[in-house]
Symmetry: C2
Subunit: 202 residues, 2 copies
């Protein structure tokens, strides 16, 4: 397919805080078993959302995107919908790590953290032997920063995401993070749906 520009998507990265150190201390069998359990659990959550696309996985990190549809023009309602799909999946991924069997592992819990950004992306298929779909642009880089500057067991989102989610979700101001080329960005923790009677995420 031709490279494409998407006007608005909601994109998130997941990461396991402390993964490198855990891998260094674990046996091959331990770390491979853990990652496989994580992949099975995460794939099952992502599959609940037909409009969600798992773009890429690199070791302990997933990149997932909502909004890669054919529509070139997005209404505010479309943007809210994509943001909501990404937010719901992120919340359910945090639930899913609680249920992963860690009995053979050196730690009790996988310190999952997630960062979400919305905005335009460029997309294209790269490679000839094993072609894969790649996303580019500021939205991707910022989502990555939302994740890499995040605390364990938290979902961190941008102000643009806050704006789309604030009607239906509870968010808490986190502070500002420095994003190269964009200066300081205000960020928020996503805590859960407003209408859900449940424990907060953290």
């Amino acid at each position: 397919p031709e490279p494409a520009a998407f006007e608005n998507v909601a994109l998130f990265f997941t990461d396991i805080y402390g993964f490198k150190e855990l891998a260094n201390r674990s046996s091959p069998r331990q770390i491979v078993a853990l990652l496989n359990r994580m992949y099975i659990a995460f794939d099952e959550v992502i599959a609940r959302f037909p409009d969600l696309y798992k773009v890429e996985t690199v070791m302990d990190s997933f990149m997932v995107c909502s909004g890669l549809s054919g529509n070139t023009q997005k209404s505010r309602q479309d943007c809210i919908r994509d943001a909501t799909i990404a937010a719901e999946c992120a919340i359910q991924l945090l639930d899913a790590v609680e249920a992963i069997d860690m009995s053979d592992q050196l730690v009790e819990k996988l310190n999952l953290r997630i960062g979400i950004q919305c905005g335009p992306v460029l997309a294209g298929v790269i490679g000839t032997k094993m072609p894969h779909y790649c996303l580019f642009g500021d939205t991707v880089n910022t989502a990555s920063r939302m994740c890499s500057t995040n605390q364990a067991l938290r979902i961190q989102v941008s102000e643009a995401m806050y704006d789309l989610l604030k009607n239906e979700y509870i968010l808490e101001e986190r502070g500002t993070i420095a994003v190269k080329g964009k200066g300081d960005m205000k960020t928020f923790f996503l805590l859960g749906r407003k209408d859900k009677v449940s424990e907060p995420n953290h």
Copy 2:
């Protein structure tokens, strides 16, 4: 296959210095065409080395490894051989970027940089839907640092690599870089083979 520990491999990362900025300024067609040209060129170089395995590609970054054979015990000669294969491939990749067609691009040249480390790795197959081979451990992290702290159009290697290559290759001391959990590491630029009458890499 069962997860495995390899006593010694030579592993390198490649990266395009300034890629994010270039992708932000380019059209989707431009950046996708460029990456595809790079992948074709790099795959062709890597294919010249039957013992070299391309482990992973993430956008503009390749991870390539020599030494993932069945042998559990490696002699110094085996280690030199793996280091040499990685070094030769890296040198030829720097040559290959000179030949990539940039006529439709915003820059004249792909600022390839490469970082190489040798040492033990853990390996395993991750994922059930699209299983892929993953490498873990300090050697992987250090090779990544060798790359990410490197200058454009340079091959940066560790002192352990220097020790294996110094008989047949010209290396120049670069200085020290800070590697998390390991303190300061002395690093070297790999310039070329001693017996080759050719221009230096840079």
